[in-house]
Symmetry: C2
């Protein structure tokens, strides 16, 4: 169970509804963990069944009511304990790499296109990452402890992203040498 822990992590500072979690997962923690709203609602129910989250309905004007979840004492303890479990390295499964193993003169142009699209997507993402780093994490040594961890995740994202851009360039050059 890992999405559950990601959700609880997002709830460490703020109480949020399922909708807000789904929205925020597209930025912040969502840089490293994505989930559909259906999955989030399901997980929220499971977590509150375990009493790791408390829920309360919030009445709103001009909007549907929402159900806001917050960490319980038990939830905080479970999350803290989970950090101490050891995880095995997870190989990143990526269709693109499998496709590259199938490179031939017929599909080289298509694969170049896919790589170009990925490159652009990564550029956009890096722009965001860098903006966040400059604004909130410019001097990592002086950050409070927990934000040092967030900085490190961001730093990995930035470095890997820059590396990926360089690889895309290398790949596009080599793919251009494939005759069609």
């Amino acid at each position: 169970m890992a999405l559950g822990h990601a959700i609880m992590t997002a709830l460490l500072d703020d109480d949020l509804s399922g909708y807000e979690l789904a929205r925020d997962f597209e930025t912040s923690l969502g840089f490293f963990w994505q989930a559909s709203h259906q999955q989030i609602y399901l997980e929220l129910r499971k977590l509150s069944d375990k009493h790791w989250l408390s829920k309360r309905e919030v009445t709103q004007r001009g909007k549907p009511n929402k159900i806001v979840y917050g960490m319980t004492r038990a939830g905080r303890e479970a999350l803290a304990a989970w950090v101490f479990t050891s995880t095995r390295t997870q190989v990143a499964k990526d269709d693109l790499l499998v496709k590259l193993y199938n490179l031939d003169s017929a599909n080289a142009a298509h694969l170049s296109g896919e790589i170009t699209a990925r490159r652009e997507e990564m550029m956009r993402r890096l722009y965001l990452y860098e903006k966040i780093r400059r604004r909130h994490y410019s001097i990592p040594e002086t950050l409070p402890t927990r934000r040092k961890g967030v900085y490190l995740a961001l730093s990995l994202g930035i470095h890997q992203g820059e590396q990926f851009l360089a690889w895309c360039d290398e790949a596009l050059v080599l793919l251009a040498t494939v005759e069609n």
Copy 2:
């Protein structure tokens, strides 16, 4: 369905049994795609039901018989067509990053330990990658087309791996500044 395509890719050059696939998946394509033997056997059955793979039993001496699978014409066509489908970027979900968001003085030492272990694992893997690159892919421009694709996958693995090592060093330094 992506494991199926990874399996078919592995069967492009050689006919293999489920056992051999599971073993080889720990190297080569398995650098980028992992699967348990159970999952592989299941997938092989599905693929041969679709007539994308042919199977034949091979009688062996001193060993149990094995079932060897090979690509059919229809399989090759389906795989070639799949390469042209477009894939969306898949965010690498990694527990370690979620754990880092939970950094505090109590768990900093444990997280350092996890990062150190990952670092060593990556060192070993990079050693393998580099060995393969030096032996078989030293001059990428002159490779036959399909092997250029394999080279690119390997190249991404090497670059991302080296980047990861650098990040581990950065992380270990910053984690050392967390008082306990």
